[in-house]
Subunit: 232 residues, 2 copies
DNA sequence: AAAACTAATATTGTTAACAATGAAATTCTG
DNA sequence: CAGAATTTCATTGTTAACAATATTAGTTTT
């Protein structure tokens, strides 16, 4: 079950692979905030022993993507307003610099990859493939970090976009997708011009715009709870 | 954050506590790079079951502070030159911004804390208490992050200063401590002046100066290996 | 004596059983 | 019938035994 296409040599830690799977599932909105992650179910779904699941859940918790409650288990994190603000603050502090760095280091091939990314994103919008659109818009940011070429920062961005996906799932207006692809488009032109400063500025604006399309003013997460109860 | 070193309010995850202990031991240079972390020994030292140790080692590995080898166990990470450069690059990208943020948010009490920190650091230097000096100079950066008030970034800084301690342990000249307290002193004046921009600039210079006092030119980590073997 | 092979030991990795806790269902009571 | 109490069930948490692997020590051979 685990030796599939995106899998590499399994000397890479099994736990890392599990974490990646859960991350992806969250980014694609298949695991909504608050969803219970039962050890047995996850283990069966991924074809992996319970102990591996257990250890992976700890990793996920340390990345703020899962909440652990003693004797009750693991749940996909339901970020509070404060946590959500912290995620965006961290992104705004970090991603513009990463973007500036990426511009200085982007090869022609990298820019082509970004171009392809944008095309896919555009296509997904046309096709109405919401899931793909969400995934791609998040991964655009991840690709930027990879181009910047710093593993520590890449890992951080991966955590941040995953948590952002949870945040949008809770506080996002219904129809609004993760990112406006227009913004990504502008970013790419800055890459073509090798204008790192402009790219960084654009990233700040982009993140602010995402943030502004959220509705934090409610004050009660309980409302969301009720909705999810009724949806059963 | 914690009251005492032998803290045992166990509603916080036990694994987090274990990770913190190892972090601190590494920062204080009690656990040198390459040191074997046997599960049994660690468990006995901390009075904790093997499974908790096991899970904690995974967390430490995901933070780049421990290297795991299949069927061979866990070892305190011995950062390669490339990894070391990544750590410093990440610090330079992140910490100046964190510092700028900290300046805008520092209360008088926060500044007093920093002042106290510097005094302690100075005193440790006078007393020749090398271990305390090392710990305090690292924790100065951590305190800055705490003042900035973003948990995500604080956690990142904690990871980065721990890894920096490993790097200095390998590539640092013998007598050179972690930071020049002069730099910290200047930073504090920028805090007093509420000059975030200057503080950020100072932080960049400070990190560069730490980086420049390392000797990366060797090319062979093996030389370090031999030394550590002979030291037994 | 050095190298290679083999045996012994210790450590890691995995599994399964069991205990502890929380959630759910049923029964009892007002 | 509503609500509290109790029992049942499912899930998590822990422990211990066992298997697999690497390291060490010892032995043999050249």
């Amino acid at each position: 079950m685990k030796q599939s296409s995106t899998d590499q040599i399994d000397h890479e830690l099994l736990e890392d692979w599990i974490v990646e799977q859960v991350f992806d599932a969250i980014i694609e909105r298949q695991l909504p905030p608050g969803h219970k992650l039962s050890e047995a179910a996850l283990g069966k779904a991924l074809g992996v022993g319970r102990m591996h699941i257990r250890r992976s859940l700890l990793l996920l918790a340390s990345r703020g993507v899962v909440d652990l409650y003693a004797n009750r288990g693991a749940f996909v994190s339901k970020p509070s307003v404060e946590e959500a603000q912290e995620v965006f603050e961290a992104r705004i502090e970090v991603e513009p610099n990463i973007t500036r760095l990426a511009v200085t280091r982007a090869s022609k091939k990298d820019i082509a990859t970004l171009r392809q990314h944008l095309n896919d994103e555009h296509q997904a919008h046309i096709d109405g493939d919401r899931r793909a659109a969400i995934r791609l818009s998040g991964q655009f940011h991840l690709t930027l970090a990879e181009i910047a070429g710093n593993e520590i920062l890449t890992k951080l961005v991966r955590e941040l976009i995953t948590r952002t996906s949870l945040i949008i799932g809770i506080y996002g207006s219904a129809g609004v997708s993760n990112c406006h692809s227009d913004d990504h488009e502008k970013l790419l032109t800055a890459f073509n011009d090798k204008d790192g400063e402009r790219a960084a500025q654009l990233m700040v604006k982009h993140l602010h715009s995402i943030q502004q399309h959220l509705s934090f003013q409610t004050g009660e997460n309980e409302g969301v709870d009720l909705l999810s109860v009724f949806s059963k």
